[in-house]
């Protein structure tokens, strides 16, 4: 008896439950964001493409120490160094950034001892010519937008330094 009445009945019931779920969803709000017009707000740490922030006067902080080049796992940074005539000082000649090799891991920013690099929030970086993926950050005209903040090496946006013993509940407030 069970097999002929209860099981089919349960089956039909389960199917109707499924229908109800989709029907309810149909009258709820969709979660789509229509991309070019509507956009998500990027969190501060979002890693977009690498930029070299500069001051109003156009100065950057890079000292050509080659840390980023050495630490980049993909070899996407190539730095040319020149020595300033008359002194032993090294100076940045050309900062070549191969965007096509970059995986946006952010190690360069992390290892930069002079806070000279940032990962911007710029993510619409598709181009139609591969040559345009070679970027000379040093001479680039794009101004670093302070609103991006980028993947910063500084611990600026983290939870305030906690004292041991403080419970998470208190910290959360």
């Amino acid at each position: 008896m069970n097999r002929f009445f209860k099981e089919p009945w349960d089956a039909v019931l389960s199917l109707v439950t499924g229908l109800m779920i989709t029907l309810r969803q149909m009258f709820s709000k969709p979660c789509t964001i229509q991309y070019p017009e509507e956009r998500l707000i990027w969190p501060d740490r979002t890693r977009g493409r690498l930029v070299m922030p500069r001051t109003e006067a156009g100065k950057h902080k890079c000292t050509a120490c080659l840390m980023c080049q050495r630490n980049c796992p993909n070899g996407s940074i190539e730095i040319k160094v020149k020595t300033i005539a008359g002194s032993n000082k090294r100076e940045l000649d050309d900062y070549l950034f191969h965007l096509d090799r970059c995986t946006f891991c952010g190690i360069c920013v992390e290892t930069c001892p002079f806070d000279a690099l940032r990962m911007s929030h710029e993510h619409e970086i598709a181009v139609q010519d591969k040559a345009r993926l070679k970027l000379h950050l040093q001479t680039e005209t794009i101004r670093f937008n302070p609103a991006w903040r980028g993947a910063l090496p500084a611990k600026d946006d983290t939870v305030e330094a906690q004292k041991p013993g403080q419970s998470s509940e208190e910290r959360a407030d």
Partner: protein
Amino acid sequence: MNYIYDLSRIVQWTRAQLHWLADWAGTSVFWADGLGTLIVMFVLFAFCASVVMVLVYAERKIAGHMQARLGPMRVGWHGVLQVIADTIKLILKETEIPNRADRPLYRAAPYVVFVSGFLALIALPMDKNLVPVQLNVGLIYMIAIGTPGVIGILMAGWSSGNKYSLLGGMRSAAQMISYEIPLVLSLLGAVMLAKSLDLHTLVEAQKIPFVVYQPVAFFIFLISAVAETNRNPFDIPEAESELTAGFHTEYGGIRFAYFFLAEYVNMFVLSALGATVFLGGWQGPFLPGWCWYLIKTGAILFVFIWFRWTYPRLRADQLMDLSWKVLTPLAFINILVTGLILVLM
């Protein structure tokens, strides 16, 4: 009363004009009727195409909202022109034929599928006086003319020279043949009540829609109709996750468009048949008949779409089991009970 909305008057008027024209030209009424038939066919094709456009748009929108998405939004207001854009794209696309295809069959298949669905449309009574062709065996005609569609699908599956297509075609043949039987049997209950095979009479017999007397038959009809149209949860012939696209894997461009058209026309035809036989067709208060007809058909179509975007797909053998072990016996029992009640009353 509903003079303006009564489409049948337009038909009558056109017919009268044609006859007058024949009279004036001195030819026989035969030619006038022939011309009339051509016009009707043309109108029906236009109707068919617009129904499909509305359906495709509705399906995409409903699917979108059921899936917490928006569906098409870009072309026109809320994407209403999306279907037209897609159609243009499909028409303009290059039509390729695979090297190993059986060319004549490959070319013919989509049209065979489409025509069988389209021809079924002409027997449906859309309003009291709005029946393209009134046949006294309309129901049988509807069922019979829909059947060659499976040959088209089989042709497509075989001729593509693709194993996925072949599997899809075979599945489709097995499935459609199995589901014809419960489909027809479920309709028989209503026929017994109305004592007629004429769709028009069937509708007029329904002072109360037959679904009240024949709920089981309607249920069987609904399931079989979904299976007949190869739609989820019975879409094994095109089963995307298994057979990529089943029988129409290799099709593109205008030929694919015809398959697409055929699928939706079939869907419309079967829904309209259900609305006619079980839901009282064009009968209903206040609104003109063809409005009721479209509303009822639309309700069944919505259920089709609702099923598709809710359920997983059955496996081929489970599908057969459902048809032969559940639906067919159930339909027979339904006929038996209906017959007994009719005899006893």
